[in-house]
Homo-oligomer: 234 residues x 4
């Protein structure tokens, strides 16, 4: 099985290699990359001359493409120059339907943002495990329940990978869409390894721990002497 | 089991998602976040204009909330500009009792600081393992034994996660408190992944290895030629 | 088995230790290191005074040597100061045939660049798994199929490591070469651990997440407030 | 077993906690810390005003103490501002014999430097595995075989940890020493996690991949367009 899956994977890699070799892109690549990054372009509307780096990990398959990239948390100031996480980061999954051989329709893309805990579910999956998440963009608002998104990850019967599916039911637009992207064990291992790297960053813990001189880390070291008492302090 | 646990987890995520979506906070969130960071606010009393970053990973459950964040080590100078770890870092666990739906009492919070080795115990836990730690804040002082803290991590019978419990017995105040927070496999995986990331930082090893130009790392490279002989040197 | 393999490994280490102790190099070491880095020297032709760092992980065995090092992605600017990955990074494997005891012929070296997904295959290998990759440098050009490269990783029958083999069939030069390097479990674990570290970097994700002040990361945090809506935005 | 070992571990932690709580050090701590860092102090003789950071992970047990810390590689320049690894880094193990309760004799310390591949052996160990390494400081010199060092790691019969032993036979001084330090599963997990973090750094790969603006990483991105052809280039 393993061996077979690897052959399938490597053969797939040999054919065009669109999956991970942008230097041999599908002939619509610039357009579809742009599409993948519309989210980011959108964001840049809010600031001038911002540097954004677009480095999605993309899996192009027959019926749809899946692109994954981390979104960093935002911080807000409070007190005497302190920062707290304002909005958690996430792993943003973008699905595009295929509309021809290696052609994907960015107008019909759908997104799903995995929270830190949902990333934890993905990281803890074994070869036979499934997981499923439900999001409601209007949760806690008057439109609650009008749009429902459901992401599921289900193993291939032969253990050679997973099916990653997104369903979006929109009662306002009266639309229902479904995307399914089969990912190999190799592709899923890239996702797990990259998500494991990204998790502390989307949690904002890299800010706590990377000792860039003159920033919090070096300053923290000055204040920590108080720390241990605080385990006991009320 | 796995599959079931994931459904439970994702459903739980769907309900309010207070666990990991601060942008849909519980309605007492600002107050309870403040409470979680009193430790840090305390510390800032000792320095002016310090940048502190607050990015706890918080799990809000029915009877209590658990918040986890790394505390960096402190360094002191000695010799000709050398630094040594003055106080090890730790993973600080903060428990808050619930006093209503998604309302937590920060006045009654209790803290428990995991050492590097205790983090190692947590990292090595399999789905059926338990671990337990005992701390005495007054250890080696005349009050030894007056306050005793006991943290235990026990697996759910169905393997779907763990119960994390803190007991605090204070013979001086004549109080005894107990907090129990059930965590899912997904939440525990976040804790393990984040603790694995944080461990070298609370040990101070990021200072040894991150080559910030002009600091120790680049200087180390000048002195290391002596090093190998030193394996044999007395 | 495990124990035996470790003895074999440690004994092998004890003999000259060329594998991982450059300070006791084979007597042709400077020349063979130069050879390993010709790729890089080539590159430096295109820029003056570039800093390049050469830190390959090299395994010197009886019939061939294998050297592995990451190659970082390239970025190109677009829009208002945005960056996108222009060419993915890779793990570059370089094989050199032995032409005498601890002497390797850098004129006859062959290279094989593992993509992110191929690195994922390597990372997901268990002690009994194999994997195989096929590359065609002329793919999609008129010379397609003229040069074919085949990298295979096969486990030792006793589970004590793997054979890493590269075959290169060149129909233009009418040449066929094959290199086989046996690697111990310890050496393969170094490769896996180092590839796991390198993967986010060859994907360009370190650029997304390392918060170097004043660069994208800190700017991203300004624009992210728009982000979450975008999960739902069309 | 697991559970038992954890109790033993946590109880051990509760008693003085010298292992990982320097803020409750053994009463000889400053002296024994100094001893652990003589290697480093030695090195500083060769440069003025160097910043060194001392952050060993130390395990203090009844008959001996073991202290572990990474040693970074050294680089030398060549060509037009290029750097190559001059001497690989290592994980330095320092053993000190006990000469009383929590008192350790730094005069009698012995060191053993694990290479990257030896770290790979340690990282790949399962709960029942052993490994053993042999070093000869005088290897390839006229004194070859005069001093022999043997490091062994053997599992506890109950799977609750490992015995780490160093034997040093010195035919010149006519001495033979042996140190054995029992480490718990928790302590070994700290070693594995910290070694896994340190491995890319002792290999020098952090220099290749950390994109400090204006250094190699950003420059590399300019030259990499040549790269892929080089997979095929002779």
């Amino acid at each position: 099985m393993m061996k077979l899956s690897r052959f399938l994977n490597s053969n797939r890699n040999a054919l065009g290699k669109a999956t991970d070799v942008p230097r041999h892109p599908c002939k619509w690549f610039p357009r579809c990359l742009a599409s993948l990054n519309t989210m980011s372009c959108y964001a840049t509307k809010t600031e001038k001359f911002a540097d954004r780096v677009f480095a999605p990990y993309s899996v192009f398959k027959g019926k749809a493409a899946l692109s994954v990239e981390p979104v960093l948390p935002t911080f807000s100031k409070f007190g005497s120059g302190n920062l707290k996480v304002d909005r958690r980061g996430s792993m943003m999954l973008t699905f595009l339907p295929a509309i021809g051989e290696r052609k994907y329709d960015h107008e019909k893309r759908q997104k799903f943002a995995l929270s830190a805990t949902e990333v934890g579910s993905l990281l803890s999956m074994g070869p036979k495990d499934s997981c499923e998440f439900f999001h409601d963009p209007s949760m806690l608002s008057s439109n609650a329940g009008q749009v429902r998104k459901n992401l599921s990850i289900k193993p291939h019967s032969d253990g050679s990978g997973y099916f990653i599916s997104l369903s979006v039911a929109n009662n306002i637009l009266k639309t229902a869409e479904r995307f399914t992207v089969p990912v190999t064990t190799a592709e899923f291992t890239v996702l797990k390894t990259a998500c494991s790297f990204a998790l502390p960053h989307i949690m904002g813990w890299d800010r706590l721990t990377t000792p860039v001189p003159g920033t919090l880390a070096s300053k923290l070291s000055k204040v920590d002497p108080q720390m241990p008492d605080l385990e006991w302090d009320k």
